[in-house]
Amino acid sequence: MSEEKQPKSIDKASLELLEHAAARGLELAWDRYESVLPQCDFGVLGICCKTCMLGPCRIDPFGEGAKCGVCGATADVIAARNLARHAAAGAAAHSDHGRDVVRTLLLTGLGKAEGYQIKNVAKLRALAREFGISQDTKDLSRIAVEVAEVGLADFGRQEGVLRLVKRAPQPLQKKWEKLGVAPTGIDAEIVRVMHATNMGVDNDPIHVVRQMIRAALADGWGGSMYATDVSDVLFGGPQPIRSQVNLGVLRKDAVNVVVHGHEPSLSEMLVAAAQMPEVIKRAKQAGAEGIQLAGICCTANEILMRHGIPIAGNFLQQELALATGAVDAMVVDVQCVFPAAVQLAQQYHTRLISTSRKAAFHGVTHIEFDEEHALSSAQKILLAAIDAFKQRDPSKVRIPTQKEDLVAGFTVESIFSTLGGLYRPLFRPLNRGITDGRIRGVAGVVGCNTVKVTHDWGHVEMVRELIRNDVLVVQTGCSAIACAKAGLMRPEAAELAGQGLREICEAVGIAPVLHVGSCVDNSRILLACVEMVKEGGLGADLSDLPVAGAAPEWMSEKAIAIATYVAASGIFTVLAEPFPIMGSSQVRQYLTDGMEADFGGKLAFEKDPVKAAHLMIDHINKKRKALGLGEMLYQPAERARKVAVPAGSPGKVR
């Protein structure tokens, strides 16, 4: 592999600020990456065990030295345990977020949540119906309380099976039951993994992996799904909505408030508070034209989907946003917030405001957010931002001009309302597009950014290759933000799609790449697949569908949980960075091969995004063939390499 320096990003706004930051001597994630090199290969391979203090034990990957740890755990046991703990941590992050949203619904029903209301009555009623809650009463609050209580009980459930798991197709539920991976309680499954991976408990690597799968399923079909569904109830079901994305959405003349993190409860209230006349008046008194809210990471996706609030950037742009010198307050809650943001914000007037009782940052303003005083907290935060605006130094401000249009707001309910019309089945046009050979299949491309891959390049390169081959792409998280910045979420992007996909996009006026939300909203993708099966003509289980998943720039433990539940739901999933298990042939073999016989889905690891796209396309073709679908109507066009490719050789893996 060549050691040539890879570009840090393909995004022009980011490159401009990277240069600016370097000139100002600011330290960014990319610099810190250089300073931690070389990274430990035992960690890469997952064969370092720190589970107990007989160790740390490391297995010789070359098979000559230590073949097992002091306790006798082999590389296979160690790698499986380590991975299971990562997945449990990821599932915990999504699920604790889900719990808080359900709790907000409870408090709203009880009339104790300041500022919140039930915005999506239809979805509340649908959940009540699903949970068998009587709707005789006209009192919506009562129904909200009962739905929330059922939901919260699922977190602490001690027996039986999670309610939302019953949404899966019957054959899939049967597979889970047979393998003993049908999740019981969300909390219990995470605790069980932590127990099973203790020193001297579960010592069969594949059994450990199955326990991990159960916890991951409790995330995908539990914690994350509750987060999505109940957020839709409280904050409204998203509808297709126009907005803009990239650092150029920040304004010289406005108080810029950047929300960064994951939970929508607070950001929803910030959206409300930013529209309050007295708040706007205060901003004007301070000399600003108004308040500009913008988001980073999944908080951004949540308020984009529901309110069209613009997105400042994705994960690796959090520091770049600060380096604009134009952010008056960065409001953070949980997950993916760099500890380094504190020092960087201190270089500017920027007020970093922590808000979660779960996440403290030393030396920042803490305005604790609780659901019972939500609107007041939001107001307080905005007033602090206005205060900071007065100290903004215009000579330090550097806002890139780049901002791109996008359409977001697609959900299972709204995704094809444009496609199907109000009174027709929503998924019929999609399924028909697939059976007719215009759409090859559907891919979910999701996940983070990583300094190991040129920023945004993995996402954009993969997605362009997929749509060129008539694969409709649905996206969440920072992957969605990457492709939105590259212009792929504008209806005009249809011209980059293959002829068949292009015809459908142009007929309905949608982009070939659809934004379906935040990382907990990957549950929307699962449910969209369920609807495709229900619609008929594409098999009886998710594993029959011509679909695939990918995370081309993943880095978080949450991604490990997601990839695991997606694959265990029957969907072939490609990851760029390998899971840290490659030192175990048994675990590697199971995840990349053996799993398929059990679940119908499996994982693959491929760092080249175009090669990865073709693994997905091959898989989709295989499924099309198994379904007896005919040839595609059109051959894919020649590959045009103009937008996404950074200068230099192929294989831009840092």
Binding site: M1, P38, C40, D41, F42, L45, P578, M582
Partner: protein, 182 residues
């Protein structure tokens, strides 16, 4: 005639060595032509390190070929497989010449010549010959996360030791010279 311009050794600061064995892995990868550990493992290549972190009294001590000037392994090698490279001063092995007599294994005071059953020949540190020729550091050096391992020019080392000794001597002198005045 030696054409060598300088003598280099790998020196390890034992205070900084955390026994992480990164040098071992980097060495094995380098000699199989890999940088990425996952690619190396998946390739099925024969991976053998030529540096070892050896446990001694509860600590880890990296041990490897010292590239001796009057190298016993070179002296006993009957096939001419091992030789002292005149240009670099490094003890190298000619591929394919080893007859497997293991004499070098017997005489090496550092255990740095290791018999490799799989390849049927003796393997030893080559100071990453090809890699340093391309202008890079030896891989075990580049891989050390605490920079405990360094390539040091012996001439520089002597100079540094001389300076340290001079400073010590002076300090001792001043301490003893001042006392009688009181």
């Amino acid at each position: 005639m030696r054409t060598q311009k300088e003598s280099t050794v790998v020196a390890v600061d034992l205070e900084r060595c955390l026994s992480c064995r990164s040098c071992e892995l980097a060495c094995a990868k380098a000699h199989a032509g890999f940088r990425d550990i996952v690619e190396a493992i998946l390739s099925g290549a024969h991976l053998v390190p030529r540096v070892r972190v050896v446990a001694a009294a509860g600590r880890g001590v990296p041990v490897q070929c010292q590239h001796c000037e009057d190298a016993p392994c070179v002296a006993v090698c009957p096939s001419g497989a091992l030789y002292l490279d005149e240009a670099t001063g490094h003890v190298l092995a000619r591929e394919g010449r080893c007859i497997g007599c293991k004499a070098c294994v017997i005489v090496c005071p550092f255990g740095a010549a290791e018999w490799d059953r799989v390849s049927g020949s003796v393997g030893k540190c080559d100071f990453c010959a090809g890699i340093i020729a391309a202008g890079e550091e030896p891989r075990c050096i580049a891989a050390c996360p605490t920079r405990a391992r360094r390539v040091i020019r012996v001439e520089d080392l002597s100079k540094r030791r001389q300076k340290e000794a001079a400073a010590r001597t002076l300090a001792l002198h001043e301490a003893t010279a001042r006392e009688p005045e009181k």
